[in-house]
Symmetry: C2
Subunit: 269 residues, 2 copies
Amino acid sequence: MAAVVAKLLAAFLAVLAVSGAAAWDVKLELDDGMPLIHMLRPLLSTGGHLGRKGRVPCDSWRFAVETNTLRGWKTIPARCEKYVGNYMMGGHYRSDSRAVVNEAIAYAEGLKLSGNGNEVWVFDVDETTLSNLPYYAKHGFGAEPYNWTTFGNYVQEANAPALPETMRLYKRLQALGIKPVILTGRREDKREATAKNLASEGYTGYEKLLLKPQDVKVHSVEFKSGERKKLEDAGYVIVGNIGDQWTDLLGEPEGARTFKLPDPMYYIG
Amino acid sequence: MAAVVAKLLAAFLAVLAVSGAAAWDVKLELDDGMPLIHMLRPLLSTGGHLGRKGRVPCDSWRFAVETNTLRGWKTIPARCEKYVGNYMMGGHYRSDSRAVVNEAIAYAEGLKLSGNGNEVWVFDVDETTLSNLPYYAKHGFGAEPYNWTTFGNYVQEANAPALPETMRLYKRLQALGIKPVILTGRREDKREATAKNLASEGYTGYEKLLLKPQDVKVHSVEFKSGERKKLEDAGYVIVGNIGDQWTDLLGEPEGARTFKLPDPMYYIG
């Protein structure tokens, strides 16, 4: 028992040391093996709210977000900024993404392909192929209201890193002979920057890059399911569909299987 | 800093003390204010697996389960039995359920009702109105393969407790004038036990109790969406739909809003 306590205390001290240092660094170079930060921080940042009516711990808020129960929210709860920051930066986000991609790869490897090369896999962009964590880390991890100007400028810089798990899936699918189709709610004025960013991060050889028309008012589900329908009508078979928003994954035709990546930072309706 | 460390250490010791005691007691009488057990236990039960290829922490496995990425699984991973047990018994399950029900109530309170009394809300039974945790706590929290006989016997005993959060929603909806409809994958031979159990737990005054026909082979999504269609055809408006399985919530007509309760113990396809 004493040994266990000493070990746990050492872990705690390590966390305290890390949390004061560079954990908020914007570069996405996190080691996979760091579950401690996110697991322990909630005790500091939200544990005290538990008893209050209407308030739930930030991880329960996240549960309701990720399961599409909470909809239409504009910002994360202010009290959850540290929790979400730790989730995103502390390894938990990466391991949740890994769980999803592991399953996607296992599924893809089990498919019997036609041999016609007509199988495609639909990828979303933001928080799916590319990570905007460098931007969001500077803007409260979703605690600040969405800012079209600053985020638009960030996108035009074309410097977003790949989400490593999605890259792993992308490369594996290509090796299997399944063609990636990129389908994003970004509008056409972001085409050049998006293509440049994808290419510089290693997303090459995709079948299509589909963006929202510049001036058309259309909700995400309608736009994305419409584009998937066009793919099917053109003879493609959508064997998989991966994205961080439910609006990427709902609306017929969804694709034969859908894969929900984590995103507790923002909601797209 | 020293004070913080002392406080955290005290919390740790409290957890260690609790974990050796009656945390596995089967009766569902847990205090809401106990986030410590579930948050810290993963360090003991799953932290060691993080680096291994293909393995993810149990909370990332749970993420993939709850977001409908992992499908068709028969049992929880053996290494996650303690994690799931702690999740279910340690307050986390209840606070996740609370996050969902808080949102459901806020949504319901914001509805403008027709005044015709035709609005209904669809409730699933297992792990929604009623909790089978007393059964699952004795059967590895989903680590043991599903056993038709023992679970069937448990259902016939009609002793499952209400999930308190769902009961709170149920009563609030009735006060607002929204009629509950109970829609379950349990078959007709469980009608008497189910009705008895619901009544004894306080679920009274529902509009309908719909069970699966005894000998018809039909998947959950097909059965449940078919029953919801019949409700709409009969003039009801399904303003809400709550369940623990995605098969409760997918398939048109889904209902105007869906609410996903947690369930990391089993999968129904």
